[in-house]
């Protein structure tokens, strides 16, 4: 009648308890404490180097080819078709050939099937495979070794990395909400600002670790200062976390409901962010007024804005909306470039919701990116907002190694001017006249 304890049960409980404690301690020591103090043990970089080595080995062993067409110019291609005839009598050939339309016809159908602009909105295809099926649409069974490796990777990512990251994310977000609400109780003053800064930085750093984001900051001497506007290219909502873990910004955005809304409301207690009601977003003047009010108060933090208005897939920079360039404040451009080898950070909002996107992010290998702080720019004499915006955009595109596209990121499908068609016509005409001259010379 004594209680029957199975000795194994007892042992199991003890083991579980110990492993839990160990796990938690490790987490605390290696991740959370460094996050609080902004120190890094370099574990993530070591991880990144290891991953790279594995991917390189894979890439050398096999080649998954994605059909890549070499870009040929108009002249090259038309001449190539002309020359391919077997019994071409050059003397009797005219400047114009009936085969010349092939080039335009093909280009036309190619654009119908897949144009440069629409391509920017879907994830960039990778040259070699990084063991994530989601990044390779043409996955076929290649070898047993590869499949085994893939399964192993899957196990590690979903079994070990994902729970770890979710725990961290949870910790980070709850700390943010809790601590900022606490700070909100303080009187406005230096103490509050200092504390708020520390708290924000700490929580963002925890979130950075929750995504295993390995970020390299360049040119930190150009970091945005109070009273300025920080402008960056937009690939995903993570951009915010990446930038905010290295500096303090005032965020701008629409008030959401749900968890997002809770976070927003508590953040604004600690320091002045700019949140708009949905109805206010439409009113451009109101938005501009609030932004310029904020900017004029030099004690307030720099505003963080993404002028493209939408997430682009990080191969190019699209047209910047001119609103933020109209206010007359100093603009601090920032270029963010993700390394696609480790995981695709692009948020295709038409395909994935926010939660499934975050889960995807947390089950990738890592998010590796580089951030460049560019020197501040101001609007020059005689320059209007659009020109200023374009100047900033080119600077960002150049620094980040992204293509500077003219097309509107909102892709309202506005009518493009005829000048582009006229350019093609000019090119073709030049070619025709050129061949005429060649012949008259010989």
């Amino acid at each position: 009648m004594e209680l029957f304890f199975n000795p194994f049960d007892n042992l199991l409980c003890i083991l579980l308890g110990i492993s839990f404690t160990v796990w938690f301690t490790l987490l605390l020591v290696f991740i959370i404490v460094p996050a609080i103090f902004g120190v890094s043990f370099g574990i993530r970089r070591l991880y990144m180097k290891t991953l790279l080595k594995i991917f390189e080995v894979r890439a050398r062993c096999l080649s998954i080819s994605i059909i890549a067409r070499e870009p040929t110019s108009l002249e090259e291609e038309i001449k190539e078709i002309r020359r391919s005839g077997s019994n071409k009598d050059l003397d009797s050939a005219s400047e114009f050939e009936m085969s010349d339309i092939f080039y335009f016809a093909r280009r036309g159908v190619e654009s119908i099937m897949d144009d440069e602009v629409t391509k920017r909105f879907s994830a960039e295809e990778l040259e070699s495979w990084n063991l994530l099926t989601r990044s390779n649409n043409n996955f076929h069974y290649i070898s047993l070794r590869l499949t085994v490796l893939w399964w192993l990777g899957l196990l590690i990512r979903y079994g070990i990395l994902l729970p770890l990251r979710v725990t961290l994310a949870f910790t980070g977000v709850s700390l943010l909400v809790f601590l900022t609400s606490l700070i909100g109780l303080l009187q406005n003053g230096r103490m509050k600002n200092v504390l708020s800064e520390k708290v924000h930085l700490m929580c963002y750093r925890i979130c950075v670790r929750a995504l295993t984001a390995i970020i390299t900051y360049h040119d930190s001497e150009n970091k945005p200062k109070n009273g300025g506007i920080c402008v960056a290219n937009h690939t995903s909502p993570i951009d915010v976390i990446i930038l905010a873990s290295d500096g303090c910004y005032a965020m701008v955005g629409q008030i959401h409901g749900g968890l997002m809304g809770v976070i927003q409301r508590s953040m604004v207690k600690a320091c002045p962010h700019i949140w708009f009601e949905r109805s206010e977003v439409k009113d451009r003047h109101l938005v501009a007024k609030r932004l310029s009010n904020h900017v004029q108060d030099k004690s307030k933090l720099p505003i963080l804005i993404f002028p493209e208005g939408t997430c682009i897939n990080n191969t190019s920079v699209m047209m910047f909306k001119k609103g933020s360039f109209d206010i007359g404040a100093t603009v601090y451009p920032v270029a963010i470039k993700y390394d696609p080898r480790f995981g695709d950070a692009f948020w295709n909002s038409s395909k994935f919701g926010m939660v499934s996107y975050l889960l995807r992010m947390m089950s990738s290998w890592a998010i590796v990116c580089s951030v460049w702080y560019l020197p501040p720019m101001s609007r020059e004499e005689g320059e209007d907002a659009v020109q200023f915006a374009n100047r900033v955009k080119s600077a960002i595109a150049r620094k980040g190694g992204l293509v500077d596209l003219l097309w509107d990121g909102g892709l309202k499908r506005d009518k493009v001017k005829d000048t582009f068609k006229e350019e093609q016509q000019k090119l073709y005409s030049k070619m025709l006249v050129g061949t005429q001259e060649d012949r008259s010379r010989s």
Partner: protein, 170 residues
């Protein structure tokens, strides 16, 4: 998507299911107003097509029933002519129809001029263009009727290695 799957079931063209799905996706993306057929406006919303001097010819060729709109079947049939599995005859036919504006089976002097003018714009004089056109027709016209038939077209162009060039990934 029910509509598209019934289309793919009834189509007897040489395309895999995967291709049809992709084409369907693309078609829906282009169909801005969701009307189920593409009009010139929908195509012209693509910046790269606006750049192409022959875009209206291409749309016209796709539009086999001539109602000014391209429905999904016409779209599939049109694009499939540029498939890697298409044969030389198909592609020659397409090229011929770029020139044959009135679809009467012959390329007339005026039609050739029209197409050349579209490609060149205002960069060359009309007189020079007309010269080039006359020369081409003279060289191609075997039966002396002053216009180029499909057979004559194939004789000039057929020996060129263009099949690879007229291929688009689907």
């Amino acid at each position: 998507s029910v509509v598209f799957s019934s289309y793919s079931a009834s189509l007897c063209c040489s395309q895999e299911g995967g291709e049809i799905r992709r084409l369907g996706k693309r078609f829906r993306k282009l169909d801005l107003d969701g009307s189920g057929s593409l009009r010139v406006d929908d195509f012209m919303s693509l910046p790269e097509l606006q750049q192409n001097p022959l875009v209206r010819r291409i749309i016209d060729i796709f539009d086999t029933d001539g109602n000014g709109e391209i429905d999904f079947i016409e779209f599939i049939r049109g694009v499939s002519q540029f498939s890697v599995r298409g044969n030389q005859q198909q592609k020659l036919n397409f090229a011929f129809r770029v020139y044959d504006v009135d679809k009467d089976g012959f390329i007339s002097n005026g039609e050739l001029f029209q197409v050349l003018k579209a490609m060149v714009g205002s960069n060359l004089q009309d007189a020079a263009l007309q010269q080039a056109v006359d020369k081409t027709i003279l060289g191609a016209d075997r039966d002396g009727d002053g216009r180029i038939s499909f057979h004559e077209f194939c004789t000039i162009v057929g020996e060129l290695d263009f099949t690879k060039k007229m291929v688009v990934d689907v």
